[in-house]
Symmetry: C2
Subunit: 638 residues, 2 copies
């Protein structure tokens, strides 16, 4: 077994420069002639000149009568003149050609038609070509309608057709062959998709969508097994019809990572390993005739980040366009975000407009967490020379979602609860996103204006009541209204059939019982610690007390996966995974809302009070929405 | 012939509100199940929950060895422990399943493999699940992967496939039937496309592209003649398979405008005429079962503006999404822009970043000028209560092109010359756009920092030299470098064969000779007036001296269309339209560049000096690029 060794580590900027310099772009670029009607989004291969003028004839610009301007010279309010219909005045509609010998149009509103006279009466002199659209008013034959290299818009289709063109020469879309590789990779929906050790192939499906957005033509092939000869043969075969081959993955430096070697054998290896996180195991190479060979990482977020960094500009380079650039906003960073010096880093962030500013909450950093991308509204780059960013920094965030959608996003920070998913689904006009940092973290964020509202279920050891004391302690600087979201049952989440026969917290100290805990600051952790103390139980005696998971569902999944025997959580989490549940007690989960923002959160509160929400919450199991929406307290700032 | 009468004029806001209220949206919306791989860009019809967790098994997060954490408890740098290969340590690669009974992974970098020992050596204790990706680390079975109403991204495809889903329920794309109407309308490429009075159908082609961008499914039909019965039958037939029918045009109030009546007969007429410019002749109606019937204006810009105002939000409403919103920038308005009170107006603007700010130059306002849309980089809305905007106002502009492209745009304001099109085509990395306001207008704009450079050819009556005196007079506040673009021949543009036998300016005063002039402030106009004065000719005696066109090409087209017999202009314009040319004199056309910006304009100056540009200029005819790129003068600010 060899140790990992990246053959040619480089920073991302020089890595792209090396690839760009080595890739050969045909001049002129390959092109094709296609119908104008199919050209939206394509890149013009050459300047397009009008084949004819538009309008191509002198036309009426108004509804009225075509006349000769010379005939109207004497007309005035005081001395109207009359023109004989047909001979000197012809009825005409907007867009009709001006009859030969006529040179102006009088608007229908500006004439009188004395009944039975066969004439019209005009009270104003016209200059030649008055109310006439002249030939070429819009487009003159020979005008450049579309510049070389322009991305053709739907409006351009109009101008091209109007200028008498029915086809247009566009740059051929670069063909990108996507080649998944790996013994563990199985196709979605195949019989093996649920087998242990199988990984469903989806990276090349994402890449295909991205390549299309970037103007390329993706071709996906079936997965190749981890066999260097088979992989080399597949890459060589793909080159028969590819402008670029992307191998995914095998690009790291493990025992079965053949991609760098294969790319080195088929062409020339330029880069193996990039100082980019995620995205490090990236391979860049080039064939002897200058076509790019990419090896992208297997972890999906690494794959996406590396593709955006290298494949997007490559396609733009091949097409002769600028690389795509996303809209950016300045935002306040909600949490300290450390970064490794020497590595450029791409952090996925949740984003919302809170008051007058955007607030960015970093999401999970794991390269394997595809949901950190799907849940993200933006990307935050941290450059290689930075050790990271402190909380409260002003940062620039690239938007992954339309800005208008970000502006409509309602941001919850706090404790995780399944009823929040119901709110997110049922809130009609807004996106609701949740950052799960536990109840105390949510109240702190609320106090600092880093979210729209916080969900909290913190029991006060002294009073036994929920939340009020904690709001005063952690968000006391603001006026806060506490609204009850729901009551819910906490208990032990255990394997189906409760094989260890657990009945209560006392059983957690039994030998052989493996517990899975929640993180400090979580309401459920606080509840556990309080009840353990009240029962005189020693937390240190519980196996697994140190193992912390951030949500009820993560606790449940640890039990489902047999990595633990029990965890404290809500019934709905157990039910969602087909696990058993030992109910212990009911607790109240409240929403803490800034009182001065209550009016803007009316839709949320209305939803919490609605029958729709109550029915859905009841359906989760272990939830009592009988008092949902009740105002628990309004707390003045301390 | 009846006078125009809009039946139900409304402001745009209330008009949309009326349509929105009358349209019936099925609840739940019509949906369909499609493969995940085809779902990018579609709208999720329901919340999508994970069918399985991801990872679906405990997997190695690193390349190394699977071990039991309990076996490593005693390991330290001082006291390494050894684990037997196979029994206590199994080689494992990233992503491989953790073998039964094992619960941690030690990285390959962190072990020694004493040769021939059959063991590995570890110097650090591991906690359980160290370097293990736990089941559900990314996605937990039952998690909501995609919220109802979300537009599915390529990243979402990854999450959906990873969660074990192969199909997804999405909202059916609303089907929009596009029905062109008008006796004068002909299909592109048809034999009649060049006939006098024919108008090439292109509005529904643009609309089809727009409907696709907005998530609808466009269906284009063949044009219907101006016959109310035929139109009514076509609309009724279209309704058999449409969620919305768009008739284009016949929506105004002329004799052949049947659309409002037809929509009123097929359904209920809600709106006829909107206080929107362009876009006034818009018809909105609804069928008895709540499907929208739209009549859009025939002028292409009106058609686009009305579609953006009514069809885009309608599709969003039918899909249950928010209407699309474009990125906006604050810009300085370069020119006074009047507007009619009581009408909301949409002005197309050219846009560039000049220094630290964006500058917006309004384009032609004509509703028939499709090129005012294709040339525009942005849209500027003027509300109904405004009389217009003064020059220098700060305005908000909606971007029609990517902001990065606007940031790369080089803005020329000044005299029109065909060699500028060559520069635009040959400048590799930037978009060059031109605003044609004549030489003096360009120098004034340069003086005010409203452009990157100005093109000028102004003869000084006193010295007979070009441009220097004018730069001092109109742009004297800045240091300016004059660079020669080209010499070009001015002369009379006349009909093929020069049927009137014109030889010089003296012939323009001959009876029966119809002249077409350039606007005041244009260099060509100045030249004409100077030479007329020098020759003692009376401008008032020239028929058509009052008729002004803004470019050489517009002058040439007036001659081509037989609306004039002669105009003063460059040879290339005559040649482009197959006209004859009577050469009169050579003149110099210079580029005026701000001296402090010269470095940033180096690519432009290099291009002017290149053989490529010189060859292309020579090819135009009547151009002498022998001294192109020469620095004529560097003028200090006065």
């Amino acid at each position: 077994m060899r140790k990992p060794r990246y053959l040619r580590m480089m920073d991302a900027g020089p890595a792209w420069a090396a690839l760009r310099a080595a890739v050969r772009v045909a001049e002129p670029r390959a092109e094709e002639e296609i119908p104008v009607e199919a050209a939206a989004g394509r890149i013009a291969a050459a300047p397009v000149h009008a084949a004819m003028s538009s309008p191509s004839f002198q036309a009426a610009a108004m509804d009225g009568f075509a006349v000769r301007a010379a005939d109207t010279e004497e007309a005035s309010e005081a001395h109207p003149i009359r023109l004989a219909l047909d001979r000197a005045a012809r009825p005409i509609d907007t867009g009709d050609p001006i009859p030969d010998g006529f040179d102006a149009v009088v608007k229908i509103e500006d004439v009188q038609i004395p009944e039975g006279s066969g004439e019209i009466e005009i009270t104003r002199a016209l200059v030649p070509w008055h109310n006439v659209r002249l030939v070429g008013e819009d487009i003159i034959q020979g005008d450049m309608i579309v510049a070389r290299g322009r991305r053709i818009t739907p409006f351009d289709l109009g101008a091209l057709l109007s200028a008498g063109l029915t086809t247009v020469r566009v740059r051929r879309r670069p063909r990108v062959v996507l080649l998944p590789t790996g013994d563990e990779i199985v196709e979605p929906g195949s019989a093996r998709a649920r087998a242990r050790g199988a990984i469903i192939e989806f990276n090349t499906r994402m890449l295909a969508g991205m390549v299309e957005e970037w103007g390329g033509e993706p071709v996906r092939l079936a997965p190749i097994r981890d066999d260097p000869a088979a992989l080399e043969a597949a890459v060589r075969a793909a080159l028969a019809h590819a402008d670029c081959v992307v191998v995914n993955a095998g690009s790291s430096a493990g025992a079965d990572d053949y991609t760098p070697d294969v790319i080195g054998r088929v062409g020339r290896l330029l880069v193996h390993g990039v100082n980019l996180m995620p995205g490090k195991p990236t391979v860049l190479g080039v064939t002897s005739d200058g076509r790019a060979l990419l090896g992208l990482p297997g972890y999906p977020v690494s794959c996406v980040v590396a593709a955006e960094r290298f494949l997007a500009p490559l396609l733009a380079h091949l097409l002769g366009t600028a690389a795509p650039v996303r809209e950016r906003v300045r935002a306040l960073l909600a949490r300290k975000t450390a970064s490794k010096i020497g590595h450029e880093e791409v952090v996925r962030v949740q984003l919302a407009r809170v008051g007058e500013r955007y607030v960015a909450h970093p999401l999970g950093r794991g390269a394997g967490i595809i949901t950190s991308l799907t849940r993200a509204a933006g990307l935050l780059g941290i450059d290689a020379l930075s050790e990271g960013l402190s909380a409260g920094s002003e940062v620039e965030v690239e938007l992954l979602r339309p800005r208008a959608e970000v502006d409509r996003t309602l941001l919850h920070v706090g404790s995780h609860d399944l009823a929040l998913d119901l709110l997110a689904d049922l809130l009609p006009a807004r996106s609701l996103v949740s950052v799960h940092v536990g109840s105390i973290g949510g109240l702190v964020a609320l106090g600092h204006g880093l979210c729209h509202f916080a969900g909290t279920h913190l029991i006060d050891p002294e009073s036994g009541d929920y939340n009020l004391a904690y709001v005063r302690r952690y968000a006391g600087g603001r006026a806060v209204t506490l609204v009850e979201l729901v009551r819910r049952q906490q208990g032990l989440i255990v394997a189906p059939g409760n094989p260890l026969g657990l009945r209560g917290l006392g059983d957690l100290v039994r030998p052989g019982v493996r517990f899975v805990n929640r993180q400090r600051g979580a309401g459920t952790r606080l509840l556990l610690d309080l009840r353990l103390a009240q029962a005189g139980l020693d937390a240190g005696a519980i196996a697994g007390y140190q193992r912390e998971e951030p949500t009820h569902m993560a606790v449940a999944v640890a039990v489902q996966a047999e990595a633990a025997d029990a965890g404290l959580g809500v019934q709905a989490a157990a039910r969602a995974l087909g696990l058993d549940f030992v109910p212990l007690e009911w607790e109240r989960y409240d929403l803490a809302l800034p009182t001065e923002e209550l009016a803007g959160l009316g839709d949320l509160v209305d939803l919490v009070r609605s029958d729709t929400f109550r029915a859905a919450a009841t359906g989760l199991g272990g939830y009592d929405p009988g008092q949902s929406g009740r105002i628990v307290a309004q707390l003045a700032p301390s």
